[in-house]
């Protein structure tokens, strides 16, 4: 059994009931090692076929006949994912996903229960989307030289559409800065991650499941703005990393951190310069000079493709594509 297959079996298939697990395992056994490394999603929907997504392709699960997922499969799967303990995953269920051991994210959809106009919980779950994570050790190696000036990392904003590899790149940056980059004169730095959605470090019970470096502290599940301030006060990091900033509070926290002399590495949704200019909070951030580098990502060639790197004033420093190694 290959390493990738063993990892998927141990960390992902354990959340499936026996009947479904057998079918998915049979389908996985037929895949090549390369396909297993590119497996990004397993979709499980009540009354429908279970499918695997591999580099844009879709493979239907089944040993001969496509397997139809039953309502009982879904119910049992939810019990396995939540360890029969809705109370232990209240916040995660409210957000629509649970991060499991290995850093994989299991998204779920069903009937929402509202309280005061906000989602209180999900009931009658009908589908799951398991997003399988893979370590990409070299994800930031091509970009990092452009984010360093005078032996110091510069506050940077990674901009890209969903699925373009922003989080993977932030994880790579965290790992590299935490280890230090002697070739660029950067010593090992203490890194703090404000990981509101458990995506960067993929914490399971507070322990990072993804390699984010040996000098990295993770504040898991904490709102970004509050988390950044808390990290500065409590852990005095040299670098703060956070994902998907967008609100006015996030912008204020980034400006505050920059003023405190901390390097901020953050990501934001957007398909290019135009999207960045259209978002008031990001516009305010750039106007305040909170970021010295802006990296534009896309999935043109592969997730993690760098289209352009600009300085804080929008002047192009590097024009891509630099292909990502995701």
């Amino acid at each position: 059994m290959t390493g990738a297959l063993k990892r998927i079996e141990d960390e992902v298939l354990v959340f499936m009931p026996e009947s479904l697990r057998r079918q998915v395992a049979q389908t996985l056994y037929r895949l090549s090692d390369q396909d297993l490394m590119l497996l990004s999603e397993i979709r499980v929907r009540s009354g429908l076929h279970c499918t695997l997504r591999i580099a844009g392709r879709e493979i239907t699960v089944g040993d001969g006949e496509p397997y139809v997922v039953s309502g009982e499969d879904i119910e049992r799967m939810f019990n396995l994912i939540s360890a029969n303990s809705v109370h232990a995953f209240e916040e995660e269920i409210r957000n629509g996903y649970i991060t499991v051991k290995g850093g994989h994210r299991i998204g779920m959809a069903g009937k929402t229960v509202l309280e005061g106009g906000r989602v209180k919980t999900l009931r009658h779950i009908s589908s799951f989307n398991i997003r399988v994570t893979h370590e990409c050790p070299g994800a930031a190696s091509q970009v990092i030289p452009h984010l360093i000036e005078n032996c110091r990392p510069q506050s940077s904003l990674i901009v890209g559409p969903p699925g373009s590899g922003k989080t993977t790149m932030l994880r790579g940056i965290s790992r590299l800065l935490s280890l230090g980059l002697p070739e660029y004169g950067v010593p090992p730095l203490d890194v703090g991650i404000a990981d509101e959605r458990s995506e960067i470090a993929g914490c399971y019970r507070g322990v990072p499941q993804n390699d984010v470096g040996p000098r990295t502290d993770v504040l898991d599940g904490c709102p970004k703005a509050e988390g950044m301030m808390l990290l500065i006060r409590a852990m005095s990091p040299g670098v703060i990393i956070t994902d998907e900033i967008g609100t006015a509070e996030d912008a204020s926290a980034c400006i505050e951190a920059s003023c405190a002399g901390v390097c901020v590495m953050a990501s934001a949704h957007g398909a290019g310069r135009g999207d960045l200019a259209n978002r008031p909070s990001l516009r305010r951030l750039l106007a305040a000079g909170a970021f010295s580098r802006i990296v534009f990502l896309s999935s043109k060639h592969a997730p993690g493709t760098v289209d352009e790197i600009c300085d804080g004033r929008g002047r192009t420093l590097v024009r891509g594509p630099l292909e990502g190694s995701r």
Binding site: E75, R76, F78, N79, L80, H87, A88, E90
Partner: protein
């Protein structure tokens, strides 16, 4: 005294001893029921803490709650935790009911105690922390009633069972001799 006489006295003594032991064991079972119920109640109180405040998954919460208990009550929670971990996603109700089926038979709990504990099953693990705490606290209150009743029953009947054991033994010995 003849050899037959000695044998009769020895036999009578053994009958009285056996009967006393039976009475004593019945009295001990009454006390044991109180002890087990009290331990289960204490474990449920710890379960409220582990679920309501520490937000632990139910299986590890049950294992932690069972730690200070002695045999029967510990077995109940550990068996339920084991069933939860190996249940292939079966509901918590099933894990709890199976544990009660296994443990209740060898414990001094009576049918009404087991029924009261079984009522906790459908609520386990299926709601938020506050609701879980509410359901477990409700089970704790119900157990409190059972404990009072068991204590009262033990106080009234334990001495009676012991005395009856001795007296029945003497009576039987006299009849046989």
């Amino acid at each position: 005294m003849t050899f037959a006489g000695v044998l009769k006295i020895l036999g009578a003594g053994m009958v009285v001893a056996a009967s006393t032991l039976i009475g004593d064991s019945a009295a001990r079972a009454l006390r044991k029921r109180v002890e087990v119920l009290e331990e289960v109640r204490a474990a449920l109180q710890r379960l409220v803490t582990h679920i309501g405040y520490h937000s632990e998954p139910i299986a590890s919460a049950m294992e932690a709650a069972a730690q200070p208990c002695s045999t029967e009550s510990r077995d109940l929670f550990l068996e339920a935790a084991r069933n939860l971990r190996s249940g292939d996603g079966a509901p918590a109700l099933e894990a709890w009911s199976k544990a009660l089926d296994v443990v209740a038979g060898r414990s001094p709990l009576n049918t009404s105690d087991v029924t009261a504990l079984r009522l906790l099953g459908p609520a386990l693990g299926g709601s938020d922390r506050r609701d879980q705490a509410r359901h477990i606290e409700s089970a704790i209150r119900t157990l409190g009633v059972h404990i009072d009743e068991a204590r009262d029953h033990s106080a009234r009947h334990a001495t009676l069972y012991r005395q009856m054991g001795v007296l029945c033994g003497i009576l039987l010995a006299l009849l046989l001799v």
